[in-house]
């Protein structure tokens, strides 16, 4: 087993230091207190600032604990904030794919639809925002199960509901499906939530790669899939590009 990671220890020490006393300290004070080189302290502070755990006062240049740290106990990203940050990319995905777009987050063992863009054909459609979808039978749900440990923990008990003959039901089958999702970075559902319905989804990530939601398209199986019943590669590409674009805007660097 590897030993402790030095930079994490130092980051923790900086946070403890800032949590004491007046809570506003300059770079030199922080570096001196902890016996660090200024460059080292600055590097750690910049990273802490990036993830929102530390804030720097613009006028004085002093550091203090960040709002994200204070809200650590509550939801990481407000769902309305997520919608607001994703709305332009969701519109672009609907325009490119020609299909309806949804963004979902995990809520008590279900998918909560937090954003919905109509299929751009001007047919009569109703807004699904606030609706709950099954985790095990939708592409968005599978992405959340694959990457969100809390979502996976919430569906441990009970037999999942069967919507069609193709709905994934056994735990063994689901683990195989989720392993594929993690391997490819996207999920699909084909005739699983309802006959003739299909969807493709990819994860939306925040700082450090934390999955905060999933974004996907859904529509008629014959439009989403090729004749072999597999999601069309260009649609998968659009979905992954859009989810990556939102992730980049949310500060996920590598995805």
């Amino acid at each position: 087993m590897p030993g402790p990671v030095q930079s994490i220890e130092r980051a923790a020490a900086i946070l403890r230091l800032l949590a004491q006393g007046s809570g506003r300290l300059g770079l030199t004070e922080i570096a001196n207190s902890l016996g660090l080189a200024r460059g080292t302290a600055h590097g750690i502070l910049r990273t802490l600032q990036l993830v929102g755990f530390v804030e720097q006062d613009k006028a004085t240049g002093k550091y203090q604990l960040g709002a994200a740290l204070l809200h650590l106990g509550t939801s990481y990203l407000d769902v309305n904030e997520l919608r607001s940050r994703a709305i332009n990319w969701a519109d672009a995905l609907a325009a490119r794919s020609g299909e309806a777009v949804r963004i979902g987050t995990h809520l008590q063992g279900r998918v909560l639809v937090v954003h919905h863009v109509f299929r751009p054909d001007d047919s009569l459609q109703t807004l699904d925002v606030g609706m709950l979808l099954p985790l095990h039978a939708t592409a968005i749900g599978k992405v959340l199960l694959a990457y969100d440990a809390n979502a996976a923990a919430a569906v441990q008990e009970g037999e999942p509901e069967r919507f069609t003959r193709r709905t994934v039901r056994t735990r063994k089958e689901m683990s195989r499906v989720l392993a594929t999702v993690r391997e490819h970075g996207w999920a699909s559902d084909v005739d699983e939530a309802g006959p003739g319905e299909a969807g493709v989804a990819a994860p939306i990530r925040g700082y450090g790669g934390l999955v905060v939601g999933a974004m996907g398209i859904s529509g008629a199986t014959e439009r989403i899939c090729d004749p072999g019943g597999r999601p069309r590669p260009e649609l998968v590409g659009y979905v992954r590009d859009a989810a990556r674009a939102v992730s980049r805007d949310l500060g996920a660097a590598r995805w």
């Binding site: 809200h71 904030e81 519109d91 325009a95 109509f118 459609q125 925002v129």
Partner: protein, 505 residues
């Protein structure tokens, strides 16, 4: 080389943006650059026109580079701009004679007071459709002519040119001192107080009223027509459209039929209703303005209702009260309760605009009891935008004699589902959001593309408009009427707050 794209330039109050659109109205690349806001004295707001021009010089080629295309692949460029902001510059050197005076600037307050006391002041609204107020251009031009040494003489000799931002940018793009084209479009000209709303030309009576020499004014052209070819920045590209930003949003939302309306929700909100080929004089506190003019076709007019504070109230809740940390959290907080708990907020921070026009009104929060939580306040914040929209729509229905059947919305606040549902509820009509949120830029691109045949006609543009979301009214009539009555009583409590200083008349 095929001309695959149309470019729009949105010269806004805080930044300038360049967007490339493809034939289906989809966004291909976006670049943006902010410019400085200068506040040299209380009430003064200025921009540096040269800084704005330099920003454009930078971001327009960037937008092409991001999409990997050359100017030869751009069929035309259209400009949408912050309205009424005034630039005066030297025709020979191209150097501005003063900083640009922004529409928010109130330095002309005393001049406007003095002008409105003149017995012939009624000619202003009769001829141009607008009330005499500080944010329109004519008082600003007059103020500059009165306050900058020797300027009036130079203006009369035609050595100094006037323009709003689109004129300044077109003149520079087409060569500046070296043969620059000095034009404006009907929508921008309609915001100067100097254009006759029916003739669509500078009105000699208004020029005389404000003391503005005709020699300094640009030629008024349709909103959609090629004005010239760019010699700089986008060499060879035709400049084929200009519209004020709110009119551009009306065009981008494809409100081409009489009775169609859009509302853009930003810091404030602007509701524009297409009234067709006839200007409708308002008796309910709205502005009569030109919507757009395509080529040599007759102009299309609009009624405009401006609301000063909508998104700004959410910002106040975030920045001044610190109750939320980001604007979208207002919805999360508002959803912690089922209703407003009897609380109403009237955000008359600097008076109330349409339809009241009460500059002495100030903000109030009414209905406070020990029961009220921050959740109720958050609801009241959102509902204030809903009710202010309702008041403007009522005024429009009364003035235009046609009832609104659908409201097309755009702007940042449209991501707030609770608010959009509330607006549908209080208006009792469906509220729809289009798939392209950038309606201002899209409108300028559409008008430019139309002028050069990139798009064939208005119907072709309509086919690009797709509904991204729709909110259907769900509030029962009795509740709506009771709540509206409460709102109106709250508004009355905001009136008559600021008293004139002692001794002033």
């Amino acid at each position: 080389m095929t001309q695959r794209y149309v470019m729009s330039i949105d010269q806004g109050t805080t930044s300038t943006r360049c967007i490339l659109f493809d034939w289906r109205g989809r966004l291909v690349s976006v670049t943006q650059r902010e410019h400085r806001q200068r506040f040299p004295r209380p009430g003064w707001v200025e921009h540096d026109p040269v800084e704005i021009w330099r920003n454009l010089e930078r971001i327009a080629p960037e937008a092409l580079a991001h999409a990997g295309v050359g100017p030869g692949e751009v069929a035309a460029v259209g400009i949408a701009n912050q309205r009424e902001t005034t630039v005066l510059w030297d025709r020979r050197t191209g150097v501005p004679v003063a900083p640009a005076v922004v529409w928010q600037d109130t330095r002309t307050a005393a001049l406007v007071e003095e002008l409105s006391r003149r017995p012939d002041a009624h000619v202003v609204r009769e001829r141009c459709g607008l009330p005499l107020a500080t944010y329109f251009s004519a008082p600003t031009v007059r103020w500059l002519l009165d306050h900058v040494d020797g300027l009036r003489e130079r203006a009369e000799r035609g050595e100094v040119l006037f323009g709003t931002m689109e004129s300044w940018l077109i003149w520079n793009l087409t060569g500046g001192p070296d043969g620059g084209v000095h034009v404006t479009d009907v929508t921008n000209a309609s915001r100067t107080l100097l254009m006759n709303l029916r003739d669509l030309d500078w009105d000699p009576v208004l020029l005389d009223f404000f003391g503005v020499p005709r020699a300094m004014l640009p030629r008024i052209r349709p909103s959609s027509q090629t004005y010239g070819t760019a010699k700089r920045v986008l060499p060879g590209v035709r400049i084929s459209a200009a519209l004020g930003d709110q009119q551009a949003a009306l065009f981008g939302q494809t409100c081409f039929r009489r009775g169609e309306a859009k509302c853009t929700y930003g810091t404030g909100a602007f509701l524009l209703l297409n009234t067709g080929a006839e200007p409708v004089a308002s008796t309910h506190g709205l502005l009569t303005t030109v919507g757009y003019q395509i080529g040599d076709q007759p102009a299309v007019y609009a009624l405009e209702g401006s609301i000063a504070v909508t998104g700004a109230l959410v910002q106040w809740f975030r920045d001044q009260l610190g109750i939320i940390s980001t604007a979208p959290e207002i919805e999360t907080l508002a959803r912690t309760v089922d209703d407003n708990g009897g609380c109403y907020i009237v955000p008359a921070f600097s008076g109330l605009f349409a339809p009241h026009w009460r500059s002495e009104a100030r903000g109030v929060i009414v209905g406070l009891t020990s029961y009220i939580t921050k959740g109720h306040l958050a609801r009241a914040v959102l509902e204030a935008t809903g009710w202010q929209t309702r008041e403007v729509v009522d005024a429009m229905n009364a003035d235009a004699g046609i009832a609104l059947t659908t409201l097309k919305v755009d702007g940042g606040m449209t991501s707030d589902n609770l608010l959009m549902q509330f607006i549908a509820d209080v208006l009792d009509v469906p509220v729809v959001r289009p798939m392209v949120a950038e309606t201002v830029s899209l409108g300028a691109a559409y008008a430019a593309g139309l002028a050069v045949g990139y798009w064939p006609d208005l119907e072709g543009l309509r086919r690009n408009w797709h509904r991204a979301a729709q909110w259907t009214p769900a509030m029962d009539r009795k509740r709506r009427e009771e709540e509206y009555d409460n709102w109106r009583r709250a508004v009355e409590r905001a009136f008559d707050w600021v008293r004139p200083a002692a001794g002033s008349s």
